[in-house]
Symmetry: C2
Subunit: 432 residues, 2 copies
């Protein structure tokens, strides 16, 4: 791909080069109204201000009629405009932000509009980018599913028989999704202090096995009619963009509650997403194939486009309240057995209606090596082994005051596309 | 309780006597804007029109400031006003609708306002009463859980060890909830034609074991802060009201998909609710105790109010496309092991944020006898026995063109409080 440079930020090694231009919702001291922006280097570009400018309206056709859309507190209305509009807006943004812009009068040389529309990123508050209707969490990270299965059931029965036939998923809790930086309170709940004892005797205490889960999130841009499946050949058209997702998990609460109907309080105390929605066009150069599935799959899951996942480098680190630190994980978004188009086709094969703003989680993404694992459960062999921190601390699960930060980026030929941070700090349990 | 009569409808044996006065969202030919109404006999009373009337505003204090609230297309804003406002509005509605009203000039003798605000029920279209954020489905119908457990695992292991310790529940799909009268398309999906065969070989076909599930739904009126549990002593304050819920189930799709993360496509093709939200005050005279739980339960689930469920008579019937018919079920809302306040306390013990408009399902409600069962799965012993219809037909599961109707009512001392119909008809699968 041709490499561009922006007059705002010449840096092509940061997450937010001119090749990225993700969408998000921000507010700042100058206006309490959350509204749409894009990120370029260390600045947020106010898209509502841009779309409201008379010259911009006149000369950039893609912004026509978007002033009200960008002025809203979620990206739902913009997402619903469809892929062609997102593409045109992003192309016009690259045009005016490029070092060699052919329309410098619009923004580059327009001090008044720059003053108004370019806000230093450290001066803004980021909000949830979408109003989320339903949240569905899949389980497509093969190495995670296999490793957890080995821990619970041994290698012969690690994967359930359905695992390679369909993208296993469950309905999550949309109300508990928060944006990066929001503290997460450790949940209390019923656990079994002695799981092997009979009869089972639970107690209600703060979670003792609190974990992170490294996932990719996928926001949808448009609805299907209830009763109408989305054909897999059309499924990509329903994708607005991607975020990082930390699907915090209370392993001990989940272990006691989840048979037979699935995870509930083990998950619904909070899930954290990164604030910037990276659009598929930005990730296009980083397409790759998902993990090989040797099981013959059903027709409705067969993809013509084989390169249906993205080689996103994913990293997790942990910092304690007293400043100890550890780089926990390095893995890639290619470690999925099922792509998001396959998840969308499966989700709707029975007619389930999806809506703009719905969030799909990939499931925990892990590689095969210990430090490629997307959760502490895997790294610590089910809580039996220590993870060493840099200054002498150890962890098996997350302690109060710990911050977990996820990062994701793609890099090729000197161009980098990044997601920014997905961070959350654990507060002590209620009443502790 | 004192028995009242309304000048609109002297009938006290119908679902919608003056003792009920539920809330719903309707539209009619006169206005395409969905708005709030209550139901009295065979009429819908337009609450937006009532709240907009100058005399009403002046003389009925409870309606002050509610014109805009009742003009909205969902009851969420009204629900958030809180129990005291719902109670005051209902008392004022009883006052103006009573045969012996002391303010006849407001409505009874006001031909212009009657013409405007009293709409024949057969002339309106009912809509979803709430904008539903998240939908949670519990599993509190003890006799259902036990019977299904016996069918799947035998009597010795019918109930999972957690069942009597906590209200088992899972996150459902809010986008697929529809109002009574909306047709439901039979889902396609992966099933195992021969579940006993190894290796498992699924196929993708229209569901062959389509079932209903008789439930009560509970709408919430206000949010809790994320991280803040709702104490069980306060849980009733979060309840706005109740509806009937048919949680349609594709048994064969669910059987293949649901281990380990729970029901997904087996449920998310559609769930039907009745349109009128019956408020707790109307059900107060029908309080009763839930089923006895011999297991010592955790403190956060202990209720001071022992009469925490309602003795609602529940009925299900089925009508085929060619007019055959059968009364399937008669049971009661008392057949729950866990009350809605217990479900709310459990849902939030770990800090999960609930919101106004969230819907909780009770789980399938069954009695112990064959014709007290809340699903065909139970009635037919897992699809092995026929249910006889009146004109000679038989059913094991639901066929295309069948309509299933649920009804619910409470009755005491000649007063009846009813829910109206919760009806849905099954359309052939997509592409069939």
């Amino acid at each position: 791909m041709a490499s561009l440079t922006s007059w705002v930020s010449p840096d092509r090694n940061g997450d937010f080069s001119i090749h990225n231009l993700p969408f998000g919702i921000f507010s700042d001291g100058g206006s309490s109204q959350p509204r749409a922006g894009t990120r370029i280097g260390d600045f947020v570009l106010d898209l509502a201000a841009l779309a409201g400018d008379a010259q911009v309206k006149q000369q950039l056709g893609s912004f026509s009629g978007l002033e009200g859309v960008f002025g809203q507190a979620s990206l739902n209305a913009f997402a619903e405009r469809g892929r062609a509009v997102h593409r045109a807006v992003r192309a016009d943004l690259q045009r005016i932000l490029s070092e060699s812009t052919d329309v410098p009068a619009l923004l580059k040389d327009n001090e008044a509009l720059k003053q108004k529309a370019l806000v230093p990123a450290d001066k803004v508050t980021m909000h949830l980018p979408m109003q989320i209707g339903d949240y569905t969490d899949f389980y497509a990270g093969y190495h995670h599913a296999y490793k957890v299965g080995v821990l619970f059931r041994g290698p012969d029965n690690a994967l359930q028989p359905n695992y390679t036939h369909l993208p296993v998923g469950y309905h999550g809790r949309s109300s508990s999704i928060v944006v990066s930086g929001t503290p997460i309170r450790r949940p209390r709940g019923q656990i079994l202090p002695n799981p092997a004892a009979t009869p089972k005797q639970p107690t209600t205490v703060p979670c003792r096995r609190l974990d992170f889960e490294l996932e990719l999130g996928c926001f949808l841009s448009k609805p299907n009619e209830m009763g109408e499946p989305i054909d897999i050949s059309k499924a990509e058209e329903y994708i607005f963009g991607f975020v990082l997702l930390n699907d915090w998990s209370a392993r001990d609460i989940q272990a006691w509650e989840y048979v037979p109907l699935g995870p509930f309080n083990g998950k619904n105390f909070g899930s954290t997403i990164s604030p910037w929605v990276v659009v598929p066009d930005a990730l296009e150069p980083f397409r790759t194939e998902p993990l090989q599935n040797d099981t013959p799959i059903q027709d409705y899951l067969k993809e013509a486009q084989k390169q249906s996942v993205f080689d996103i480098q994913l990293e997790v680190d942990l910092t304690t309240a007293d400043g100890d630190h550890v780089d926990l994980t390095k893995t890639s978004g290619r470690n999925l057995l099922w792509s998001f188009p396959q998840m969308i086709a499966h989700h709707t094969v029975g007619g389930c209606p999806l809506r703009a703003g719905d969030l799909l989680g990939s499931g925990t993404i892990s590689g095969t090596e210990p430090r490629e694992r997307g959760s502490l459960l895997e790294m610590t062999e089910g809580g039996k082994a220590d993870v060493q921190l840099e200054k002498g601390g150890v962890r098996r699960f997350i302690e109060d005051g710990d911050s977990v930060t996820m990062r994701g980026y793609c890099e090729k030929n000197g161009v980098r596309i990044g997601f920014g941070d997905c961070e959350g700090k654990i507060l002590p349990a209620h009443g502790s």
